[in-house]
Amino acid sequence: MAMEMRLPVARKPLSESLGRETKKHLVVPGDTITTDTGFMRGHGTYMGEEKLIASVAGSVERVNKLVCVKALKTRYHGEVGDIVVGRITERRRSAKDELAMRGFLQEGDLISAEVQAVFSDGAVSLHTRSLKYGKLGQGVLVQVSPSLVKRQKTHFHDLPCGASVILGNNGFIWIYPTPEHKEEDAGGFTANLEPVSLADREVISRLRNCIISLATQRMLLYDTSILYCYEASLPHQIKDILKPEIMEEIVMETRQRLLEQEG
């Protein structure tokens, strides 16, 4: 049995540990970004009294003439075409709904779906009109901030380490064992309740801890970063990954590998 108790350690500011010379321009709502009126204003900014003012808390990004503020922590904003993973919390209690949905979806079930339309108040309507969407079976759900999920072409990944992930744009990440038969994707409406093998479980637990480490260190989540983090974590035991010093070490290694790959 393992038991570890320790004294808390103050968090180091991230820029210090990265050794970055140029510090990010951080703003809070109400801060003036610039008094230069030549810029076009993007998300997270508004014009007031001839100044560009931030409306969210985050870092300023400048692309040529466009200035926007990328929020560090946001609620999810739906866009048409986004893949989301969601949990059913409430159902319509009408006879018609019961007949249509009986036996398929219960409250508490997890589904993967695509955003069909966005209403003006921010609510989204979802559809599961493809066999790759639908009820999710056995696996592990990890909830992170939506701002950490990178927008990519596809959000369904079969990782070479032996498990699959669905990176929902809303920050819900679903890790599940790769189904053996290729026709039977994560969707459909009948869940497979056979016990998952121990080897698959180890991969899934390791991936879960890696994703949590990346999210804690505010790294963008996409298939490559998750994979590099998984490989960096292999020398350590699965339960040790969540220890603060090992988490930092693994994420540092991942960051370096990603920088090398870009440069």
């Binding site: 049995m1 393992a2 038991m3 570890e4 108790m5 320790r6 004294l7 808390p8 350690v9 103050a10 968090r11 949990r87 919390t89 219960q106 409250e107 508490g108 079930d109 997890l110 999710l136 079976g137 056995q138 696996g139 592990v140 759900l141 869940a191 497979n192 309740l193 016990p195 998952v196 121990l198 479980r201 180890e202 637990s205 390791r206 879960r208 801890n209 035991q237 699965i238 339960k239 990954i241 969540l242 220890k243 603060p244």
Partner: protein, 291 residues
């Protein structure tokens, strides 16, 4: 406890994982999550401690006040527990929602301390039948991430370790009137011995096995759990079954043996961390809440 919704398939996954001794975060059935303990975080208390166990965050403050002893125990002081489930911890604790859980935890704390040896109550007596020290232990639940009772008992033990009670002297003059004199030096205090203060080990029955330090998801899959209060020597002071499921007497026996084993390791780790913190002296860097 805070309620987390899970689908049937997720529950099945968790239950099968526990049978194979591999939980969602890679721990075995008898492994605890990493615990962070810090004492002396609240300056206007006699003693305080903050414990973080995964996502569970507990703050305990102890205040020593003078009062009259209880009628049936005139030579002893006593402890009073109060638990506040902050609305920050879970949405269902808003308003009076957290009161039920708070009284349940406070009653459990009263029970585990309700014996002669946990805390030396005689040392809290100043004048028999007239004056004694009353220790008001206030527990604040900041965040709920599963395994509340264990974290709270660890925090209470750490706060009692950190408690400093001012040393008082009783002076008797010729007419027999007693006067209480407080020492001039503010650091002249007595420390409580927390050798026999018990800690709670919660064991949740999931499938055929039981797990220690369950997360919220694991608690949602468990129908019955056993709360065992263990001292550092492995002595069980009290036991309580929670949950609507039933437990086989054999399982109860196995769970008790596990709790004794786990409890001893818990106490040794806590003692070593508390002594390490004390050895850093008053000049240590305090992390507090903004670290």
């Amino acid at each position: 406890m805070a309620f987390v919704a899970l689908s049937e398939a997720e529950k099945v996954y968790i239950v099968h994982g526990v049978q194979e001794d591999l939980r969602m975060d890679g721990r075995g059935c008898e492994d605890y999550r990493c615990v962070e303990v810090e004492t002396d975080v609240v300056s206007n208390t006699s003693g305080s401690a903050r414990v973080k166990l995964g996502h569970t965050d507990i703050l305990v403050g102890v205040k020593a006040e003078m009062g009259t002893p209880k009628l049936e125990k005139p030579n002893e002081g006593y402890l009073e527990f109060f638990v506040d489930c902050s609305a920050n911890a879970a949405p269902e604790f808003e308003g009076r929602g957290g009161d039920d859980l708070g009284t349940e935890i406070a009653n459990t704390l009263y029970r585990i301390f309700n014996n002669k040896s946990s805390v030396d109550l005689k040392s809290l007596c100043i004048n028999p039948r007239e004056h004694c020290w009353i220790l008001y232990v206030d527990v604040l639940l900041l965040e709920c991430g599963g395994n509340l009772f264990d974290a709270i008992s660890i925090a209470v033990k750490a706060a009692l370790f950190n408690t400093r009670i001012p040393r008082v002297r009783v002076l008797e003059d010729e007419e027999g009137l007693k006067d209480i004199e407080l020492s001039d030096d503010p650091y002249d205090c007595i420390q409580l011995s927390v050798e026999n203060v018990p800690c709670i080990v919660t064991l949740c029955k999931i499938g055929y096995r039981h797990v220690v330090d369950a997360t919220l998801q694991e608690e949602a899959c468990s129908l019955a759990s056993l709360l065992v209060s263990v001292t550092s020597k492995g002595v069980v002071t009290c036991m309580r079954k929670a949950g609507k499921g039933s437990l086989d007497p054999e399982s109860i026996f196995e769970m008790m043996e596990t709790s004794k084993r786990v409890g001893k390791v818990l106490h040794t780790s806590l003692q070593s961390v508390l002594h390490k913190e004390e050895s850093l002296g008053p000049k240590r860097q305090k992390v507090g809440f903004l670290g």
